[in-house]
Symmetry: C2
Subunit: 273 residues, 2 copies
């Protein structure tokens, strides 16, 4: 494996760009190939078998891009399919759930952690399992928040309605007195401020994306896969973006998340993989 | 074509059951094969080319079910792909947009009609085109309401938050003084009462599903395709339901819409068509 190859990052849609953003911050010299499955988004309420099938197709596509490691930016895929995916490719595969669980377990003082995510992520119970492996004394309180993704996509990031929805979703977690809250879906960091205001300043918000990027860095270093060729790259050489639908909608969202001028995304017929 | 064959009805998901319900009411002796594309739902914000591709796959599946006519229950598919679909099958294909447009044009007194629907339905401008063909003097005011589908799916059908969202979406249409409002998405009739309260009692709500069932009846009659064999059928013989994902979630939603005990849905691998 050539250490000058790119890192593959994929998600059900464009939310995973919040993970790509952390990877770019942690590893500013690496190349990235991003894939967002905008033709079949969202994954959150779909079944485990369908999610696994979609993820295998995306892996088959990323293989054609000669990637040296893969980041599963989607919590739902990380929850349902990560172990299967590890058997499908010869390169390291990093998910978001385990790093998120680890940092939350380290952060909690009262050993009461809240997890918010899609229906699939919550149903999988994987955050709970990983945290219990670290410390079986920690209690986990979960809540699926299916309206957060469409609210973020509607652009109502600082909106009174989004706040009201958050109040309703987060009330049971507040009541349980959690001191740590895992934002278990890539869209949620985009309304981090609002979530923080609703859950209260005493609760620590965990964005698994940050810890995922750190984990990726450790894995690449251990496998001697960090890029050694220091020739500067243009943005076009460094970052390639692919989506399965509506590439013309990509840049507006991507630039709002990444804060730099991104290249256009290319469309991939993902069903063909 | 055998008049004892079933009528195919399809939608991006389960919302099209509101159309199936009207077909069942209008044609209680007919057999129905329903397909809901729950593995790729929603269609509303996806591109025309992706929608057309998905619809062609569904038609290929329905052909294997030996249907005598097809109802495109999805507004987005009706808006983007109906003419293409008509060339793909030798049986009559009825969409929801034209019947909805016709009944709205007949209903308006002040010739100001509102249309609410998905981003795709609104962008296609097809309701506007059909209404203008009937009466170019009618003015159309459109508004995409992308949060209505996830709110309905969350089960918040009579909720204060749903009401607030409706108030925001419908305010510009109220301001324009429409006297007729087309519910251009199959999920919306499920919150019909709430939409009616927000837009006001003076505005007539149009559910294209009702007129679509009437249109289907006329087409079947003209083509001599109405079922003539009057042997009574069990529910299992009469109604077959297929979905591309999560068949176990089907019955709860279906029975809330159809008000009878439905058979279980079967899973179809729609990408294979």
């Amino acid at each position: 494996m050539d250490n000058s190859s790119a890192i593959g990052v994929f998600d059900s849609g464009l939310g995973g760009l919040t993970v790509a953003r952390e990877v770019i911050r942690a590893l500013p010299e690496e190349k990235i190939v991003y894939f967002g499955d905008t033709a079949r988004v969202p994954y959150g309420s779909k079944s485990a078998s369908t999610i696994r099938h979609y993820a295998e197709q995306i892996l088959a596509f990323l293989k054609t891009q000669d990637v040296k490691a893969i980041v599963v930016a989607c919590n739902t895929v990380s929850a349902y399919a990560l172990e299967d995916l590890r058997h499908s490719v010869p390169v390291p595969v990093v998910g978001v759930v385990k790093p998120g669980a680890r940092v939350a377990a380290a952060a909690t003082k009262n050993r009461r952690i809240g997890v918010i995510g899609t229906e699939g992520t919550v149903k999988s119970g994987l955050y709970e399992r990983f945290i219990c492996e670290i410390d079986p004394g920690i209690r986990i309180f979960q809540k699926a928040c299916p309206l957060f993704v469409p609210l973020v996509e509607e652009g109502w990031w600082k909106d009174s309605i989004t706040r009201e929805v958050a109040e309703r979703y987060l009330a049971p977690l507040k009541e349980e007195g959690v001191d740590t809250l895992i934002m278990g879906c890539t869209h949620y960091p985009l309304i981090r401020k609002l979530i923080g205001e609703v859950i209260g300043p005493e609760v620590q918000l965990i964005n698994p994306a940050y810890e995922t990027a750190q984990e990726l860095m450790r894995v690449l270093s251990r496998e001697q896969l960090l890029r050694t060729d220091k020739t500067p790259l243009t943005k076009e050489e460094q970052y390639r973006f692919y989506v399965s639908d509506a590439p013309e909608k990509f840049r507006a969202f991507a630039e709002a998340v990444l804060h730099f001028e991104t290249p256009d995304a290319e469309r991939v017929n993902i069903e063909a993989y």
